[in-house]
């Protein structure tokens, strides 16, 4: 695809999926973002894909985080007290 057809037609769906994270991270130039959003407004497939990526990230955020083991907490607090004395 030449540059002139890119400007005319914007990104293909295949390109949009690879740019999803750049977009969500706010790492695009304003020109890229305009083209990206133009595609998104016209394409249910890519709009749905982007929502899936957002949902995936949100679901990862809903996972329970690793908890500090109680034993380590005790050991570290003892180390902190010792450090304080020094």
């Amino acid at each position: 695809m030449t540059d002139s057809t890119r400007v005319e037609h914007g990104y293909s769906c295949k390109e949009v999926v690879e740019l999803a994270t750049e977009y969500l991270e706010g790492a695009m130039s304003s020109e890229q973002m305009t083209r990206f959003e133009l595609h998104l407004n016209l394409c249910d497939g890519c709009f749905g894909f982007l929502e899936q990526v957002r949902t995936t990230a949100a679901m990862a955020g809903a996972l329970s985080e690793e908890q500090l083991p109680g034993e380590m907490k005790t050991t570290l607090l003892a180390a902190f007290r010792e450090w304080k004395r020094e």
């Binding site: 695809m1 293909s12 769906c13 295949k14 390109e15 999926v17 690879e18 999803a20 994270t21 750049e22 991270e25 790492a27 394409c43 249910d44 497939g45 890519c46 749905g48 894909f49 929502e51 899936q52 990526v53 949902t55 995936t56 990230a57 679901m59 990862a60 955020g61 809903a62 996972l63 985080e65 690793e66 908890q67 500090l68 083991p69 380590m72 907490k73 050991t75 570290l76 607090l77 180390a79 902190f80 007290r81 450090w83 304080k84």
Partner: protein, 215 residues
């Protein structure tokens, strides 16, 4: 969580926290040890073989933090500084275990499409690179199903099965809520590479979820 709202720049909260730690405030120490644990264990697990060794690394890192606390100058956030100490210790352990370091052999030249190329129309199609059929709409999934234990287990397992570098980045970013700059500084990779890894990780987890929902 401690530091989760802080940017990669040092905030006054950070300075206050360091001040409390230096003065020997045990509540502050408890809070920071618990709050930073998920990110610390995620970094450690990227380098060493077993959970128990990763836990040793975290514990050793705290001893290093205490030794260095008086000299901490606040050039990075406390969290970045702590995670860098974890990564340093974990690297040494990995070398001891003769493991290759995940971010040193780190190369992004291998092409890894976010979606299988067969899902898109070919070059001779009137719509080259367009979807052959659209991804399904997850908005129609009831929220209860999205957050059901079973579905979250799918996400958890998918993250577990990721290549190390992708697993560390998605865990730090999406599971523990670290900022992009914190992750790239702590791991010593560029923000661009951090983004590529996050993209690939989310894409793999998304594909696993798609198979789960479509079954």
């Amino acid at each position: 969580m401690v530091g989760s709202a802080a940017g990669a720049e040092v905030t006054s909260d950070d300075a206050a926290l360091v001040g409390r730690l230096r003065s020997g405030d045990e509540d502050a120490f408890d809070e920071v040890v618990a709050g930073m644990y998920p990110a610390m264990i995620a970094v450690a697990r990227g380098y060493v073989r077993t959970r128990s060794v990763a836990e040793e690394v975290v514990q050793e890192a705290w001893l290093g933090v205490l030794r260095g606390l008086e000299r901490f100058e606040g050039r990075s956030t406390l969290r970045v500084w702590v995670l860098q100490i974890v990564a340093n210790i974990a690297r040494k352990r990995a070398v001891g275990e003769s493991r290759s370091l995940p971010f040193s052999s780190f190369a992004l030249e291998t092409d890894e499409p976010a979606v299988e190329p067969e899902r898109f129309r070919g070059p001779d199609d009137p719509y080259p690179g367009g979807w052959r059929s659209f991804p399904s709409n997850w908005q129609t999934q009831p929220e209860a199903q999205l957050l059901a234990r079973e579905t979250l287990d799918v996400v958890d397992r998918a993250i577990d099965e990721l290549p190390e570098t992708q697993r560390i980045v998605i865990t730090l970013r999406d599971v523990t809520g670290c900022l992009p700059a914190e992750v790239s500084e702590a791991l010593g990779i560029s923000e661009g590479n951090q983004r590529v890894l996050l993209h690939r990780a989310r894409a793999r987890v998304r594909a696993t979820l798609e198979r789960h929902f479509d079954d």
